[in-house]
């Protein structure tokens, strides 16, 4: 069962070579055996999982299962799970037992998937290294002194170490794609509005999007079929119909026009990553694609624009954590102001406080136009850059990160240096586009990710482009030692 894809596991279940109960026990044992090294789970839901596996086995016995029935999954601890702790990696919600399920959770449960637990993450999804969690940092399975990336570090590490075949994540500035790259797995951030945000604790409402981690693009397609789709409970949810993402996985790439942004291949890009991406580009040429140099001139401005818009939205969204209705409450508040200030300051970590303060500043009287409005205007310019590019090409290709995985503690003393590493991923969130990261090589034993970006609601094509690469190469089959 080790390192099998979801597609393979599904066949094993359908043919009754294994039961969901056995499969679930297999992953639960692996979590017990290995997760102390990684710290990728905040909560393991063993009883819940065994119960779900039993139900799945009954369905499979009557041939009433679907392609995901009985397959385990881990949920990023930002998705509300009814009756189960939902912490968002924060002391603020350490005591929060969610009274409801997120739509995403409901959909995977209805598809018969077995939830193994809730994964570790940067607090309230703010971070690029999973070093900002109240529950301690997550380690990269490829090298335990290195970060797995963030904010969905737990979800990525768990799939990379095969503690689960699938996991959910969220991506606001790169928080699925970057950990996928650093952990050597496949991760997708769908188009904004493709996946319901109901029950997905909000960080930056115009940027947040739920997505997935798995070992292959084919697995992502199976999972996205369930995760995607209109939800009346999410007013930013798109009514665009959801295709069967698996049907077009094997379409030919003959004539595919690939755009290579000049700005993604500057001297700032690590040489070994550049070499790996060049090799990947050659693979695509062999598959019949043509290459086109394009410009995304506002790439460098996307970082400051993001680090105004996201903190502004976060300062608004995190105002709900006030010690009154749920979450952490300070002891013996003297008055209302004391209740708010102490509950919040005791509950939030430093990065969250930093971003709330930036957000408060840029939204305050006298600064709103210069910062927030200007950032929203740059956002339109960034989206325009992509729209112009997609008139000439079908997909944009580049590295996911400018540098290889870094060591724990390497960037924690300078928040800005952490922000700068988001340069290739952030514009995608500002423009609301779908993008994924798949493994494309290694540098000194650490994974390299390649990013593919396409036009809104073209996830089927994106997965097809990734799948064809994975049929021609084997980077995605490599696994870390010691797991």
């Amino acid at each position: 069962m080790l390192n099998k894809s979801i597609t393979e596991l599904s066949h094993e279940l359908q043919r009754k070579n294994i039961s969901s109960t056995e499969l679930t026990q297999f992953f639960l044992s692996r979590i017990k055996q290995f997760d102390s090294k990684l710290n990728s789970f905040i909560t393991v839901t063993e009883e819940h999982a065994m119960q779900a596996a039993k139900v799945a086995d009954a369905k499979l016995a009557h041939a009433k299962g679907g392609p995901l029935t009985g397959i385990p999954i881990a949920q990023k601890d930002i998705f509300c799970t009814q009756g189960i702790k939902t912490s968002c990696g924060s002391k603020m919600l350490d005591n929060f037992i969610s009274p409801y399920d997120a739509t995403v959770v409901k959909r995977f449960n209805a598809a018969g998937m077995v939830m193994l637990g809730k994964t570790n993450m940067d607090e309230f999804a703010m971070g690029s290294s999973n070093e900002n969690s109240y529950y301690g940092p997550v380690k990269n399975p490829w090298h335990l002194s290195y970060v797995p990336g963030g904010s969905s570090g737990g979800s990525a590490a768990a799939v990379a170490a095969y503690l689960t075949p699938a996991s959910t994540g969220t991506d606001t500035g790169g928080s699925i794609r970057q950990p996928a790259a650093l952990c050597g797995i496949s991760g997708i951030k769908p188009t904004y509005g493709r996946v319901s945000r109901y029950g997905m604790v909000a960080f930056a409402s115009s940027l947040d999007q739920g997505g997935l981690f798995a070992r292959t693009a084919e697995d992502l397609a199976l999972l996205l079929n369930v995760m995607a789709g209109f939800d009346e409970n999410d007013s930013t949810s798109s009514p665009q119909p959801v295709p069967d993402y698996t049907l077009t996985l094997n379409d030919s790439l003959q004539g595919l026009r690939i755009g290579l942004p000049k700005e993604f291949f500057s001297s700032a890009l690590d040489k070994e990553i550049a070499t790996a991406i060049e090799a990947a580009i050659q693979e695509y040429e062999k598959l019949g694609a043509t290459l086109h140099e394009i410009n995304l001139p506002n790439t460098s401005l996307s970082i400051p624009a993001y680090y105004v818009v996201a903190p502004a939205e976060c300062s608004s969204n995190l105002a709900r954590f006030d010690g009154v209705r749920y979450g952490h409450r300070c002891k013996n508040p003297l008055d209302l102001e004391d209740l708010y200030k102490r509950s919040r300051s005791e509950g939030f970590g430093k990065e969250v406080v930093r971003r709330i303060m930036i957000g408060t500043y840029v939204l305050s009287a006298g600064y709103y136009d210069a910062y927030y409005i200007q950032a929203q205007k740059i956002r339109r310019l960034v989206r325009h850059d992509f729209e112009e590019a997609f008139k000439k090409v079908d997909v944009i290709l580049g590295p996911t990160t400018p540098t290889p995985p870094f060591k724990l503690g390497e960037k924690t003393s300078d928040p800005l240096s952490m922000y700068l590493s988001d340069i290739y991923t952030i514009g995608v969130n500002l423009a609301g586009l779908p993008a994924l990261s798949i493994p494309a090589g290694f540098t000194q034993g650490l994974p390299i990710g390649m990013q593919l970006i396409s036009h809104s609601f073209t996830e089927a094509r994106l997965l097809n482009i990734a799948h064809c690469y994975q049929k021609a190469t084997d980077w995605h089959t490599k696994t870390p030692e010691g797991f």
Partner: protein, 101 residues
């Protein structure tokens, strides 16, 4: 915006108050320095010529969808209040807000 600036600890304290946060005295200097460098970093946004550009609030240019004005939600107050820090008779309890004469 224009030249590089430096936040004062007074401004930091004001922001903290607006956000209803307490800052430890020993953290104020570090936050001042970090926030100053972040704000100076975002200064480069002033390079962009955005005079003819409208702000983009939502990447899909969506409008707020509406629904009929009918009651469709179920009252779940008990479930929601089961996890509240302090409740009584269906009300959330907080320290006294209105001063008594």
């Amino acid at each position: 915006m224009g030249a590089l600036m430096s936040l004062t600890s007074k401004e930091i304290k004001k922001m903290a108050h607006l956000a209803r946060l307490n800052l430890l005295e020993e953290d104020i200097a570090l936050y001042t320095q970090q926030l100053t460098s972040i704000l100076n970093f975002v200064e480069q946004m002033s390079q962009a010529d955005t005079r003819q550009i409208e702000p983009l609030a939502n990447p899909l240019d969506l409008n707020q969808p509406l629904r009929p004005d009918k009651v469709t939600e179920v009252n779940q107050r008990d479930a929601f209040q089961a996890i509240a820090p302090q409740v009584e008779a269906g009300l959330y309890l907080v320290p006294q807000v209105i001063e008594s004469e």
